[in-house]
């Protein structure tokens, strides 16, 4: 990095000043680290590289040394004595390298911290300062820009999106042998507005038809939007809160536009977090409609008997990858297991799992940042080894970002597994009853047979 301008430094310090004024947590956590070092071995980057720069406490120290230099009298006058550092080009470069390129904000270190320092939160604040300086890695920014400019992070034109949905709808109708089985788009006053990760329509549409099948079985009143269906929010990772707020606002406004009662967040860790937990802070007011993840919705369906699943339809040994933003940072540990264990008969946990699980290695925007591809695959080896040790042949995870990283790990480390979303596993286990969807008893057998197949669309000529 050449040099940073006075304006850049001021912009970053303004972010720090505003955060200190708005949120007392920031100052507390900047001052709390006691350098015990317990966090080191909880971090995938440190485990993989053994480089002290990746110790989580040291990442916090990058941000706190700037705080001491510019916001405390002792740091201002005696910087060397109080470990206060200038925000210069070297510091900015180190911050970009460690806060974007050396942290997935998975929060595993937070659980292991003896004090409870929210390291991921401090890293996020550091990213916000870097974003104010215009230092967001190029590839991450490109993904944010696509979402801002087109409504989805892969810039899929509406017509091509609709064409893919139509394709999936035809497959579903064939499979269900029911022309009323559909994928509704832009329908007003439905109960649910459902959301997707753009990689589904673009490259991996089977998870769309899987969820449509679940909705069909539940007899749900739902719709997709043709314009704002993207559940992701890479503005949350870039650190530009104005961008994150705009993207969150798109979904908020679209729910109102379509008159839906409930926003259902598709299988995406950070996207669920960005709307559900961070959303009100981003758009500056509470959400005036219900919102939950599709995991919780499917759990309700199963618990209430609204859909019927048969775990004997999924007999292959499965394991589960906990997305950080849904489990450790999202509270869905039990709910996710309830759904998965209702649908598979042969299940094994990874070690460790749940709140102590390792990130897939692609979180925090890492998957979108080509700049750090090599690191992403290297830290991912930890996850690959965890998967291999289970002996499972299917890895289930309710996050498309994790899915893509796991696919790459599968290839790189020759794991020989299949990666599936939770909706795909539920769809495979569905037993479609006449009461749920089909009024005509004459067709019950056919429908039920399709629902029983673990490879439901196998007979379909277009798809398989």
């Amino acid at each position: 990095m050449d040099n940073i301008t006075k304006e850049q430094r001021k912009a970053a310090l303004d972010v720090m000043r505003a955060t200190l004024a708005a949120d007392s947590k920031f100052q507390t956590h900047l001052n709390a680290c006691v350098k015990c070092g317990l966090c080191a071995t909880s971090c995938m980057y440190y485990i993989a590289y053994k480089d002290p720069k990746f110790i989580p406490g040291r990442k916090v120290d990058l941000v706190s040394s700037i705080y001491r230099r510019y916001f405390t009298p002792e740091g201002k006058y005696f910087p060397a004595l109080f470990r206060a550092k200038d925000l210069d080009a070297k510091m900015a470069e180190e911050m970009v390298d460690c806060l974007y390129g050396g942290c997935t904000m998975c929060g595993r270190c937070v659980k292991h911290c003896s004090i409870g320092v929210d390291v991921a939160y401090i890293v996020k604040k550091g990213r916000e300062m870097l974003a104010a300086m215009g230092l967001v890695p190029k590839t991450l920014q490109a993904t944010v820009d696509a979402a801002l400019n087109t409504g989805n992070n892969m810039a899929i034109p509406t017509e091509e999106f609709l064409d893919t949905l139509k394709w999936m709808e035809e497959e579903l109708q064939d499979e269900m042998n029911d022309e009323k089985a559909n994928i509704p788009v832009d329908q007003h006053d439905k109960k649910i507005m459902y959301t997707l990760n753009p990689r589904e329509p673009k490259f991996f549409p089977l998870s769309i038809s899987a969820m449509a099948k679940v909705f069909y079985a539940a007899g749900e009143s739902w719709t997709l939007s043709s314009k704002y269906y993207d559940v992701t929010n890479y503005g949350y990772f870039s650190g530009n809160n104005a961008h994150a707020a705009q993207i969150a606002q798109y979904l908020y406004d679209e729910v109102h536009h379509l008159g839906a009662k409930q926003l259902i967040l598709g299988e995406c860790g950070h996207g669920s977090r960005a709307s559900r937990w961070e959303g009100p802070n981003l758009i500056k007011h509470p959400y005036d409609f219900e919102m939950e993840t599709v995991l919780e919705l499917m759990a309700e369906y199963i618990r209430s008997g609204r859909i019927k699943v048969d775990k004997s339809l999924n007999t292959t040994l499965c394991t589960l990858h906990d997305p950080c933003n849904l489990v450790r940072n999202g509270g869905l540990l039990q709910e996710m297991r309830f759904v998965v264990k209702s649908c598979v008969s042969n299940f094994v946990e990874m070690t460790p799992h749940g709140n102590d699980n390792f990130c897939c290695g692609g979180g925090g925007g890492a998957l979108a940042m080509s700049e750090y591809n090599e690191r992403r695959l290297k830290i991912g080896e930890i996850k690959a080894n965890q998967i291999r040790a289970t002996g499972a042949k299917i890895v289930i995870t309710p996050c498309h970002n994790c899915v893509d990283q796991l696919m790459q790990l599968n290839h790189t480390y020759k794991l020989g597994v299949t990666i599936k979303t939770v909706a795909e596993i539920v769809a495979d286990a569905l037993v479609i009853t006449p009461a749920a969807a089909k009024p005509d008893p004459a067709n019950d057998t056919a429908t039920s047979a399709a629902g029983h197949s673990s490879e439901p669309a196998e007979k379909d000529p277009t798809l398989f």
């Binding site: 490259f203 750090y372 696919m407």
Partner: protein, 100 residues
């Protein structure tokens, strides 16, 4: 030719898509563990390349299936890394944005 002869981005996608030709595709395919490029591989790569040259981006997997007549599952089997990190990379495109 070796894959190390090419300038690629961090994800291994060709930095200058204009330098792409069939030989380049073969080198990238081999690096991905795809033994030999079959007619089906080529059909997918040609559709992706054509879309990129006409529209500047990767096609939907829907378009790939329609234009090649291949089934979705076949695409995933032909390119184990998927249409993006697998096929688009062999077709010399820049890495698509998003969760791929």
């Amino acid at each position: 030719m070796d894959i190390k002869d090419f300038e690629v981005d961090g994800d291994g996608f060709l930095t200058n898509p204009a330098l792409w030709n069939d030989e380049v595709a073969k080198v990238f395919a081999e690096a991905d563990g795809i033994g030999e490029m079959t007619d089906k591989h080529w059909a997918v790569v040609r559709v992706i390349r054509k879309n990129f040259e006409e529209k500047g981006n990767a096609p939907m997997v829907r378009t790939i299936c329609q234009e090649t007549g291949l089934k979705l599952r076949e695409i995933y089997e032909l390119f184990p890394l998927g249409p993006a990190r697998g096929a688009c990379r062999i077709a010399g495109l820049p890495k698509p944005d998003g969760c791929v």
